[in-house]
């Protein structure tokens, strides 16, 4: 397809988006050493369980809030607008790349 209009979204995934895709899952028994100032998940929540992933307390999870801010995909803003935004008449709807 022809794309003559200037892009409103970056065409390439950012390094952070790519890292999220390629990173492997930590194993339950694996305890990485976090940088100074970051806490591990509360160990009391993870004693002796047969769960396939960890249980995470709120304080642990909140540490990510200011750290990971990558959009899930390069077309995320368009997708959010289409899914959450007000309905437009069908005739006014144009392909994202031509907007």
């Amino acid at each position: 397809k022809l794309e003559t209009n200037k892009r409103v979204e970056p065409a390439e995934p950012t390094p952070g988006m790519q890292s999220l895709k390629s990173a492997r899952f930590l194993e339950v028994k694996e305890e990485p050493k976090y940088p100074d100032g970051f806490k591990s998940p509360n160990p009391a929540l993870n004693l002796g369980g047969a769960r396939k992933a960890r249980t995470y307390d709120k304080d642990f999870l909140l540490q990510f809030q200011g750290v990971f801010k990558e959009k899930p995909s390069v077309d995320w803003d368009t997708k959010v607008k289409e899914t959450l935004g007000p309905d437009e008449p069908a005739s006014a709807r144009a392909p994202a790349s031509a907007r």
């Binding site: 940088p35 307390d57 709120k58 801010k69 959009k71 899914t83």
Partner: protein, 226 residues
């Protein structure tokens, strides 16, 4: 230097380098975020319900949360639903047939983003229930004209064991508690109330979906409260 670190097999978390990490934190379940659009005409509710995204890591949750409209900015008649993958956030889903929900209504028009975030974190972090409870289906926030409401959907509604079942036989023999299902839901409800940071005297209410469906509205009589 992080490129080298990765090459020698060492672990780089998002805290070490947010744009060049090689491990991520798995959630116990895969979750789907749904959105209910405010009606603009005569659509069915089910046409307004849209899947936004499905995710399975802590990192991905924050990427979504940091880049989507906060609950406090949603229009009236919007809902967010965060449900385990494969469960539609509707009574009609067969997996919700025998279920119910805990809910609490806040009587102001603007949603508290922090309260809703805490509810989502308790769901994806799996701290609402104990291992093996297998009750939590999802959490929901409804934005309405003069109030907003949060809900926690569960798989059962605290019914006593069915006649003729093994559980009923255990109860009969004195080896099991007839109220075990209800007690399990009350334990989960208390945690939900804690995450909402509600004063002790406030009550959250539980109702079964079947009761709600038959009463024709979501204002069914509460079966129990904590």
């Amino acid at each position: 230097t992080n490129g080298q670190a990765a090459a020698d097999g060492s672990v780089i978390t998002v805290f070490d380098d947010p744009s060049n990490f090689n491990v991520k934190h798995a959630l116990q379940n895969t979750w789907t975020l749904w959105f209910t659009k405010p009606p603009s005409g005569k659509q069915d509710w089910s046409e307004l319900l849209k899947e936004v995204i499905t995710f399975d890591s802590v990192e991905e949750f924050w990427g979504i949360y940091n880049n989507i409209t906060p609950a406090s900015e949603l229009a009236q008649k919007s809902d967010y639903h965060l449900f385990k993958r494969g469960v539609r956030p509707e009574w009609e889903d067969p997996q919700n047939k025998y279920g119910g929900r805990w809910s609490y209504t806040f009587k102001n028009s603007k949603a508290d983003d922090k309260a809703w975030l805490d509810v989502m974190l308790s769901a994806i972090g799996e701290t609402l229930e104990d291992e093996g409870d297998n009750e939590v289906m999802g959490v929901v926030i409804n934005i309405r004209r003069a109030f907003w409401r949060v809900g926690l959907w569960t798989k059962s509604a605290g019914q006593p064991p069915k006649k003729g079942s093994k559980e009923a036989a255990d109860v009969e023999a004195g080896n099991a508690d007839r109220e075990a299902g209800k007690k399990r839901l009350e334990k989960i409800g208390k945690r939900f109330k804690d995450y909402l940071n509600l004063p002790e005297q406030e009550q959250i209410e539980f109702s079964g979906h079947q009761d709600s469906a038959h009463s024709g509205s979501s204002r069914a009589k509460a079966k129990f409260a904590v």
